[in-house]
């Protein structure tokens, strides 16, 4: 699960990045700063590749040209078509189901009692171990891959939503009741907006976990998509191609998280947008 830890800390890092923003000067140029950061990373990679660190470690430029080659010959786009279907389906299902179940557990004692222990166990368990079991039951198709995504993404989304709903500012609920809000209005106008920062933190972790799930499934079960492309190039010692594939999925995962954060700030918490 080392991969999981990496992505989670990445998500936390993104949150810290947006919390900053009252400092003046050159720090006010986030785009420039990010480009410099990427350029530095590429430069160090290039140097490390030229030393070389290992014969299996390609340079940045070799990886980049391999990436262009993979797009040109159509193998990378084709792999993504196969990977993205279960990934998107699994994440969308996990997001709606997770936020729904989490909200239900936060509001309804019996639901909390029935469901929360299950998700606590699921979150604590090394879920990657379930993936061969999923294959055993559902075969090696789209269902198994989607389930692998959901097994990893759902618990963290449910638990975060549940905690967020339970910790909603009680005084706002009383306010809504006193101004004649119905139960439904209390949930949609007060509880969900107030809980949204923690719900979104859960969604970010869930999306990152979903990427882990789909890659694991493709490495362990179904030799298709990105996982297959990585395995294939490794077996042929095409290290530049292998690194290009891995880098592409990391980049996609990061971009997805950034997009999610953008949606959160735009739609749900406009007051946190800049100072």
């Amino acid at each position: 699960m080392a991969t999981g830890i990496r992505t989670e800390s990445e998500a936390v890092g993104l949150a810290a990045l947006s919390a900053r923003g009252e400092v003046g000067g050159w720090r006010d140029q986030p785009v420039l700063l990010r480009l410099v950061s990427i350029a530095l990373f590429a430069g160090i990679w290039e140097i490390a590749g030229r030393i070389p660190v290992s014969f299996a470690f390609p340079t940045f430029s070799a990886t980049f040209s391999a990436f262009v080659g993979l797009i040109a010959d159509g193998s990378l786009p084709l792999a993504y078509v196969s990977t993205l279907q279960p990934l998107v389906l699994g994440i969308v299902l996990s997001a709606f189901l997770g936020v729904g179940l989490g909200t239900l557990c936060g509001l309804w004692r019996t639901g909390e009692w029935l469901l929360i222990p299950v998700f606590i166990v699921l979150q604590a368990a090394p879920v990657a171990a379930f993936i061969p079991m999923v294959t055993f039951v559902y075969g090696i198709g789209m269902t198994a891959k989607t389930l692998a995504v959901m097994i990893l993404a759902l618990p963290v989304i449910v638990l975060n939503t549940y905690k967020a709903v339970r910790n909603v500012n009680g005084s706002l609920i009383v306010m809504c009741r006193s101004f004649l809000g119905t139960r439904w209005q209390v949930v949609t106008r007060i509880i969900l907006p107030d809980a949204s920062p923690v719900i979104f933190a859960g969604l970010r972790l869930g999306v990152a976990a979903g990427f882990v799930g789909v890659v694991l499934a493709e490495l362990l079960i179904t030799p298709t998509g990105i996982g297959d492309l990585i395995t294939f190039h490794r077996s042929r010692a095409d290290y530049a191609e292998m690194y290009a594939t891995i880098a592409s999925i990391i980049a996609l995962s990061t971009l997805t998280l950034i997009a999610l954060q953008w949606v959160e700030v735009r739609v749900f918490r406009p007051e946190t947008r800049g100072a």
Binding site: M175, R177, S178, F179, L180, Q185, R189, P193, F268
Partner: protein, 255 residues
């Protein structure tokens, strides 16, 4: 026999206990229409509990609350609440916060925002419609809370220590504004406070509650002319005498 005074809120035999602690015992009170009545007393006298029972936010163990003769047990459109901690939605602008009561009632956006803008100006916050609560000072936030309560056009405004989280200078200014606001809003105010000066300064009637269990110990009607300069009230002899009189009565409860 004097003409009967028009009572808008009638409290009859209200009792409330929290576990073994008796918060209120047998409260009977009437609140005259169009007046500002303060509930004043030391902490533990149940004044906020009584206000929340009148608001329908807490259930009483015994007794009834009637508004215009109609017994109520839940929040209703004839009452609006101003919260001690403001209770503003941090994700909504001042305008949306003020319009929130009307939003819950399903009023069209344009219409409710017009009403909200009117009351934002009324409480002296014109120009701050687009600000979020964290961009406003404590006093300004409570002005938003007051505008929200005014905009639903309730007959009775219930204010729960509205100035206790506002700093001293802003509190003074706000009290003056409240006196001015009252003169052009024909509303009944029920005001909870633990400040004697504040109660005497703004109230037509002061209900003194004694603690453990909360009971009505005295009702005072300070006769202070508030039509002139509000600064003069602080030097008014009757104002000073009333403050002193209430303090003598409450002294015994101070630790």
């Amino acid at each position: 026999m004097p003409a009967p005074i028009d009572q808008i809120v009638a409290v009859r035999g209200i009792s409330k206990s929290y576990g073994s602690t008796e918060a209120l015992r047998g409260i009977d009170l009437d609140f005259p229409r169009g007046k500002l009545t303060s509930l004043l007393g030391p902490s533990g006298c149940g004044k906020t509990t009584l206000l929340k029972i009148i608001a329908g936010l807490i259930k009483a163990d015994a007794g009834t609350i009637a508004i215009d003769g109609k017994v109520v047990s839940a929040p209703g459109p004839e009452r609006a609440f101003v919260f001690q901690d403001f209770a503003l939605m941090p994700w909504a602008t001042a305008l949306r916060n003020v319009a929130f009561g009307l939003e819950l009632r399903g009023k069209a956006k344009a219409e409710r925002e017009d009403i909200a803008r009117h009351y934002i100006a009324e409480v002296g916050l014109a120009g701050f419609e687009g600000k979020y609560p964290h961009q406003l000072s404590g006093g300004m936030r409570q002005r938003v809370g007051l505008a929200r309560a005014l905009s639903v056009d309730a007959d009775v405004l219930l204010l729960d220590e509205p100035f206790s989280a506002v700093d001293e200078q802003n509190r003074r200014k706000f009290q003056e504004d409240l006196i001015r606001l009252r003169s052009n809003q024909n509303k009944t105010f029920i005001f909870v406070t633990h400040s004697i000066e504040e109660a005497v300064y703004i109230s037509d009637r002061i209900v003194l509650l004694s603690p453990r269990p909360g009971r009505v110990s005295q009702i005072i009607e300070p006769e202070i002319d508030r039509s002139g300069d509000p600064d003069l009230i602080h030097r008014d002899k009757h104002y000073l005498d009333t403050v002193q009189e209430i303090w003598q009565g409450l002294k015994q409860y101070a630790e």
